[in-house]
Amino acid sequence: MGNEDHALIRTVLAGEKDAYGLLVARHSQSVFRVAFRITENEADAEEIVQEAFLRGYRKLESFDARASFRTWIYRIAVNCALDVLNKRKHQAAVPIAEEHDGEQGTVQPADGAAGPDRLLLSQEIEARRQTAMEKLTPTERLAFVLRHMEDRSTEEIATALGIAPNSAKQAVFRAVQKLRQSLAPLWVKS
């Protein structure tokens, strides 16, 4: 796969633009997946995919032949996602009605098999999770998604975000702490 990618990149740089279409076809699914996990929005994820491949094409000359195109385009997509999150952070404000008060929101989880109570709890957890995720800074959210959902190492997160490994680790810690503050009441009385 890697050698085929490199051969396609050489072809693109030799003037065959259409060869890049094969790279897009090969990696667009995985780029879309990570973009969606970060943004949790289908339209945003599609926009990120397009922007990532556009930026990738324009920077293709700077691609290091020793690297993996998959990792390279992944990093570009993460940066595009960071831009989208930053833009969203500035544009949107969290509605007051959706804020969850810790004590009021305490839920008694039910034991046993999935029933109406369990379903209700899942919905409550999901609503709180989404709200808690929105409260994270773009860097914290990205670091957490890459660590928790994409199972990326601290080094990989740091490289993708262009920050120091220790900063990446701290971003994950802060994200977990904030999620814990928002979601812990659900398990207080469990």
């Binding site: 740089l13 030799a14 890049y20 667009s28 094409y57 398990w187």
Partner: protein, 252 residues
């Protein structure tokens, strides 16, 4: 017993702690930390992202269709490589600089020699005058020499002096008028004197006798005139040489 911090618990959860075995042993021994770790595990295990919606096999082609219009093809490396040789670029820059300096020099020289070229018609006229005047004086000198010798040696002079004198007389009038603006009194006086001698010779009877010539020599002081002509020739020749040197210097 020192408990594990929250950061250490999170590191342990993601298996990124340096002392994994020690942390594991501590969690086995410490109920407080074990409970905190269990709560963290429950929390994080329930935090799952929404599954991305499925994309069809043609999704990549759709993405490509949406972006390919805004992408320009790269130039092939063989074409671009010309611009990547720094040595070639430096050499080209040096050649351009040298060519520019040479052209600038030529333009500067041309601009600075323009005034001298602007006076060329006047100088050319002066050079022509000096040349023909020198020639005229040369012919006049020869005529005077012949006249002096003829007067000293023979009874009858059978030389075409009169025809030559008439020709020189016509020329002399023209030169005398031409040099009038130059305000050269010596030359003007000499040409005036010469004209009178030539007029006398030209208007003499067909065959000049030695006596006639002797009279002319005496009355017209042709010996003195010959000396004057020789001095003027030297002067005119010098001026002509200077004019030629100036012309060559201007065209270099």
């Amino acid at each position: 017993m020192k408990h594990l911090t929250e950061e250490e618990l999170i590191e342990h959860y993601y298996s990124e702690d340096f002392y994994k075995a020690e942390s594991e042993a501590h969690l086995q021994a410490c109920k407080h930390c074990a409970q905190a770790y269990e709560e963290l595990g429950k929390l994080l295990s329930n935090v799952r992202a929404s599954e991305p919606p499925m994309r069809g096999a043609e999704y990549g082609a759709q993405v490509w269709q949406s972006i390919q219009g805004s992408l320009r093809p790269y130039q092939s490396k063989t074409k671009r490589s010309y611009f990547r040789w720094p040595q070639l670029g430096y050499a080209a820059a040096c050649l351009l600089f040298l060519a520019g300096a040479f052209l600038a020099g030529r333009i500067w020289e041309h601009a600075h020699t323009q005034p001298s070229l602007a006076t060329t018609p006047q100088q050319a006229r002066e050079r022509v005058v000096l040349f023909v005047l020198d020639n005229h004086l040369d012919r006049s000198e020869r005529l005077l020499v012949q006249l002096n010798h003829a007067g000293a040696e023979e009874e009858k002079v059978d030389l075409p002096l009169q025809a030559e004198a008439r020709q020189l007389l016509t020329d002399n009038r023209l030169y005398r008028q031409s040099i009038a603006p130059a305000n050269d009194p010596l030359l003007a006086a000499a040409l005036d004197h010469l004209e009178r001698v030539l007029l006398e010779v030209a208007n003499s009877p067909d065959e000049l006798s030695s006596a006639d010539i002797a009279r002319i020599e005496k009355e017209m002081n042709t010996q003195g005139l010959l000396f004057q002509i020789r001095v003027l020739r030297t002067k005119v020749s010098g001026q002509e040489t200077n004019a030629q040197a100036t012309r060559k210097g201007a065209t270099i």
